[in-house]
Symmetry: C2
Subunit: 194 residues, 2 copies
DNA sequence: AAAATAAGTCAACATGACTGACATAAACGA
DNA sequence: TCGTTTATGTCAGTCATGTTGACTTATTTT
């Protein structure tokens, strides 16, 4: 995977200066807020790409991928989660989940047991091994977020939280907020930015 | 795709209340900032999922997918982009790009021409058709973002921008900022939240 | 007892990414 | 001038993760 080199972006700039004359039909100062929106969209794309890439090496070393991470994460956050709950949170099919879940169970990261009130259900729990892995996978991600929140400034946390919450579709917003509010806490020491 | 029903989340809550006794080794008030970080991570996951889902129906109707959208978007933002530039921005292989790009070219959304300074290069331009499509695909996404920025409050824009910029890995940050700063503006009317 | 439900499995397919190899045209540098 | 390097394109195969459809078993509900 090659680096972006300065040459290529500089070339992009000078090339743009020469070629955009025919495309701009309004002066640059015009659409500042539109530019902000597109900029935000692009930043979100790049930000998320880096965020989800953090655990990849660890995952790959275990023969796992991002789907495994997601499953493990939410089971760890909500021990006792039913399969149907997980399907609903992740918005994937049971076939898709089944493949990944089976691997996590077979390899000892997740345990399952039949429900007591309803024996059809399968309740999912992280094993100690699973909790340790979930912790290891999320740590770099949380470091990234903590760093970014620091950059957001004194009241930035709230703004970012409001932004992200509102980015979630209105029909899901309350449910997502509820899910997040009731997730099991980490046992790790409190992380502080270095 | 079934809805999350209130029953299932309430069951989750009461089940947690009964089952977490054995897992919590510290009172809930303890890890507030860790909980914030994990909450942010989860919100980012859900937010991004909704954000990238916005154009899916339109894309699917054309027999396209998200990869097509990404390619079209960046070509539209940077007319005259070289293939190598695109590879670098998207961080994918040329084989991966080739498949999608060929379809966009074949179907008239992107035009390409050899460079003048270096005839080996292929410079990519959106056609009128491509620009219209790029506009159509991104509009709901920008609406989502504008809405979310409004929720972020008076100075929220800056906090969110700083957050997202810092979420991008430090080695890429300046380049991403530069790329965004030099993107071609939209020609659409300014969007205002309803 | 019949119908509905939770989960599990089989199978095939799609999207979008990867690796490796090879080819052609163009540019570069000795 | 010529050998080397570079930009792009293509072929081929593989993989991760998602989808659809169908079917099964055990359990719960009506």
């Amino acid at each position: 995977m090659t680096d972006i080199n300065d040459h290529s972006l500089s070339a992009l700039k000078s090339r743009r200066a020469n070629r955009d004359r025919g495309f701009d039909d309004e002066p640059r100062v015009k659409a500042a807020s539109d530019s902000d929106l597109i900029g935000m969209a692009e930043m979100l794309f790049f930000a998320y790409r880096d965020f989800i890439s953090d655990p990849d090496t660890d995952l790959s070393a275990l023969g796992f991928g991002r789907a495994h991470h997601r499953v493990l994460h939410f089971v760890n956050r909500h021990p006792g989660l039913r399969v149907a709950d997980l399907l609903d949170i992740l918005k994937i099919t049971k076939q898709s989940l089944g493949r990944v879940l089976k691997q996590l169970i077979d390899q000892g990261y997740i345990a399952q047991e039949a429900g007591q009130a309803d024996r059809r259900e399968r309740l999912l729990y992280p094993t100690e091994r699973g909790r340790a892995l979930a912790e290891r996978l999320i740590t770099p991600q949380l470091e990234r977020i903590a760093r970014a929140l620091q950059a957001a400034g004194a009241n930035g946390d709230q703004a970012v939280r409001d932004f992200l919450q509102t980015m979630v579709g209105s029909s899901e917003r309350a449910r997502v907020a509820d899910l997040i509010a009731h997730g099991r806490e980490r046992n790790a020491k409190r992380w502080t930015p270095s």
